[in-house]
């Protein structure tokens, strides 16, 4: 076998299985989802599936709730995760232990997280009990967490979600921080930079690829939040986009195609947001190098 000749082909042979797998088990269902969403049960072309969604007042609520959720949760989680990553990266005594502890929420299955917080935020749950044991509320002063306004409930979900997602973002940022060249940062201090200017002018720009990775993955998954909300509030209390997909698929018999149409809408929204993000953050230019 001619070595030079075969080399050219090797990578394609190696990645072929992945591509074939994607085509069969991802592209095919995606295409059929899109196609099915335009037909009714008698295989007649229709836009009714989409119209059902747009006419549902919950659609508007879902879009607004999802938008609020994404903006607030991504911002909050990113800032806290960055802070945490900077702390752990200091290599103080116990940093390894702190990392191990911080990884636990990331490892927990969403269902377990749901069980944990729904037992916590129930009126007779452990959060109120803890507050009582700490002497912060009286026995009759139980806080009714789950009956707040829609916005308050959404904030509660954001806090719960942050608890689980921050470690995930932190890991990506921490991995990036550990790969940075120490010389550049030290040089920054030598030239008289304060901690803050070094962070802003040297560390963060060098960390950009990790920040991009963390943010894009988080934005994609934040738009698709649902399980935690359903496990704590049930369906349709706080409608968000993907929760509505599951609601149409699972809870309403015979609305399968509406669910598909809904998921097409969700995907389009995710793609638009992602492309805008990648354009704005300049990830495309880097990718073409």
């Amino acid at each position: 076998m001619n070595k030079v000749e075969s080399r050219k082909w090797i990578p394609y042979i190696l990645i072929a299985p992945t591509i074939i797998y994607y085509i069969v088990f991802w592209l095919r269902p995606v295409i059929s989802a899109v196609v099915y969403s335009f037909f009714d049960d008698n295989n007649i072309f229709t836009l009714n599936n989409y119209l059902t969604i747009f006419r549902d007042p919950n659609f508007k609520k879902a879009v607004i709730n999802t938008a609020i959720f994404v903006v607030i949760s991504v911002t909050l989680e990113f800032l806290v995760a960055l802070g945490l990553a900077l702390i752990i990266n200091k290599k103080f005594r116990g940093a390894q232990l702190l990392l191990s502890i911080a990884l636990i929420p990331m490892a927990l299955p969403a269902v377990a997280v749901g069980a944990m917080w729904s037992s916590g935020f129930a009126t007779y749950g452990w959060v109120n009990s803890l507050l009582h044991h700490l002497g912060l509320i009286s026995a009759d002063g139980k806080i009714v967490f789950l009956a707040g306004s829609d916005f308050q409930s959404l904030m509660l979900i954001i806090l719960i979600d942050a608890w689980q997602v921050i470690p995930f973002m932190m890991v990506i940022l921490l991995a990036g921080l550990q790969g940075l060249s120490k010389e550049a940062i030290e040089a920054g201090y030598i030239f008289g930079g304060t901690k803050f200017t070094v962070l802003r002018k040297i560390t963060l720009p060098m960390l950009k690829p990790s920040i991009q990775t963390a943010l894009i993955l988080r934005i994609i998954s934040a738009i698709q939040v649902w399980l935690i909300i359903v496990m704590i509030f049930g369906y349709r209390r706080i409608p968000v986009l993907l929760e509505e997909v599951v609601f149409y698929e699972e809870q309403l018999l015979g609305f399968y195609r509406v669910a598909l149409a809904y998921s097409v809408i969700v995907s389009i929204i995710v793609s638009i947001v992602s492309v805008i993000y990648l354009k704005v953050s300049g990830a495309f230019e880097k990718g073409e190098q």
Partner: protein, 426 residues
């Protein structure tokens, strides 16, 4: 200068301790609740530590046994069941408190009780009458106070000062009288406890919820086995297919590489649950619907992308010079890979396998759509909570059993988690 440093350091460690507390407290309570009996879990406030013993009080009322359990939250005994049938009593107590009262123990306690009742018969009757009377009086006062308070509200609206003062005075008197009665009641009850009841404690089976979760939800054990099956199959599929691509990413540069990197993002953009819906039809045609293999085929879509990323960064960590050196000494490229690179990459690949395992082990959304009669373990836990079965301590036990393997595996691959995100980027 030195003081400032000490203060700064202390502050720093306080922040770190705060972070640790925020992370561990919810987990601590999840575990605690999973160890609690129904009686404890629904008591308010929930105790910080699960109990290991239950204190019981046994009385004989109207020729029937009356059994109560001590509630640390209420600091008093709570009645569980009145019955003349021991088996009935035992079953009820077990369900409610996770303690099994043995028959011999019960019989000795009954004998003891009969003896002390014999000794104090008249006094007990007197005290019981007194107790009932006090309870009635307290009730009457409570009702009276409520009525007075509503009158007070009306008077305040009408701004009748004299009347307001009068009602206020009356309420105060009422409360005073009530407090006295309550105190009397406490004394009477305490005395009754001493001469009319026996107390004993029984060890609590703290893992009862776990046993119950697997027994009551009949799906749980088969679901657990299915989850393992699905996860193992997913690991095999995604590691064999994704590992090859990962190697190509690490060692070669080729056209379309960046597009492929971004493809991981494309895959994530379409919600997993939406792929699962059309996949139902495809899997039915393949004969794989509601079977572990069908689930793992769908899970692998998400996991292959991750595996490509992880394995690529692992292979990049192994210098290509080692392979080249091996080839100089006469092996083929394939030989170099199997003799040099693969052994070095093995720990990293194992980590990647575990990561895929954790991912498919925890996956719930797609499993809800893709299973009908054969749910996976997370689906069973989800249904216990969202469905009408919902007992919080039972769900907690399910949640802990679900979380434990994932947490253990994550701790094992801790150092690789950092490595894999440091390698390949979007």
């Amino acid at each position: 200068m030195k003081v400032a440093k000490i203060i700064r350091q202390t502050l720093f460690y306080i922040i770190v301790a705060g972070i640790v507390l925020v992370i561990l407290t919810p987990i601590y309570f999840l575990v605690t609740i999973s160890l609690m009996s129904d009686q404890e879990a629904y008591d308010w406030p929930t105790q910080m530590i699960p109990s290991f013993f239950n204190k019981f009080k046994l009385e004989i009322v109207d020729n029937e046994f009356l059994i109560s359990v001590y509630s640390p939250a209420k600091k008093t005994y709570v009645t569980i069941k009145q019955s003349s049938n021991f088996e009935d009593l035992q079953k009820f107590v077990r369900n409610k408190t996770n303690s099994t009262i043995k028959k011999e123990l019960f019989e000795t306690q009954v004998k003891k009780l009969e003896k002390i009742i014999q000794e104090n018969k008249d006094r007990i009757d007197l005290l019981r009458k007194e107790r009932d009377k006090l309870k009635r009086q307290i009730n009457r006062l409570t009702v009276e106070t409520v009525r007075l308070k509503s009158q007070l509200e009306m008077a305040e609206k009408a701004n009748m000062q004299e009347f307001i003062d009068m009602i206020k005075k009356q309420i105060e008197d009422n409360e005073q009288e009530k407090a006295e009665l309550v105190k009397n009641l406490e004394n009477v009850t305490a005395e009754l406890d001493k001469i009319g009841a026996v107390h004993f404690s029984v060890a609590k089976n703290i893992f009862d919820n776990y046993i119950n979760f697997f027994r009551v939800t009949s799906d749980a054990l088969p679901a657990l086995l299915r989850s393992v099956q699905v996860a193992v199959l997913t690991v095999i599929i995604s590691l064999s297919i994704g590992g090859m691509a990962g190697y190509a990413f690490a060692r070669y540069s080729f056209k379309g590489k960046n597009l492929l990197k971004l493809s991981v993002l494309f895959v994530r953009m379409f919600p997993g649950i939406s792929i699962a819906m059309p996949m139902v039809i495809i899997l039915i045609n393949m004969g794989f619907y509601d079977k572990p293999i069908g689930l793992s085929l769908v899970y692998s879509v998400g996991q292959i992308g991750m595996t490509v990323w992880i394995t690529a960064s692992i292979f990049m960590g192994i210098p290509v010079e080692l392979e080249e050196a091996a080839m100089i000494f006469g092996t083929t490229r394939r030989g170099a890979f199997f003799k040099v690179t693969l052994p070095l990459a093995l720990p990293g690949l194992a980590a990647s396998a575990m990561y895929a395992f954790i991912g498919s082990w925890s996956e719930t959304a797609q499993a809800i759509v893709l299973t009908q009669f054969n749910p996976t373990f997370p689906v069973v836990v989800y249904q216990t909570l969202v469905g009408a079965k919902g007992l919080i301590n039972l769900t907690a036990a399910g949640g802990v059993s679900l979380a434990l393997p994932a947490v253990v595996f994550t701790m094992i691959i801790r150092k690789y988690i950092l490595q894999m995100w440091g390698g390949v980027r979007v």
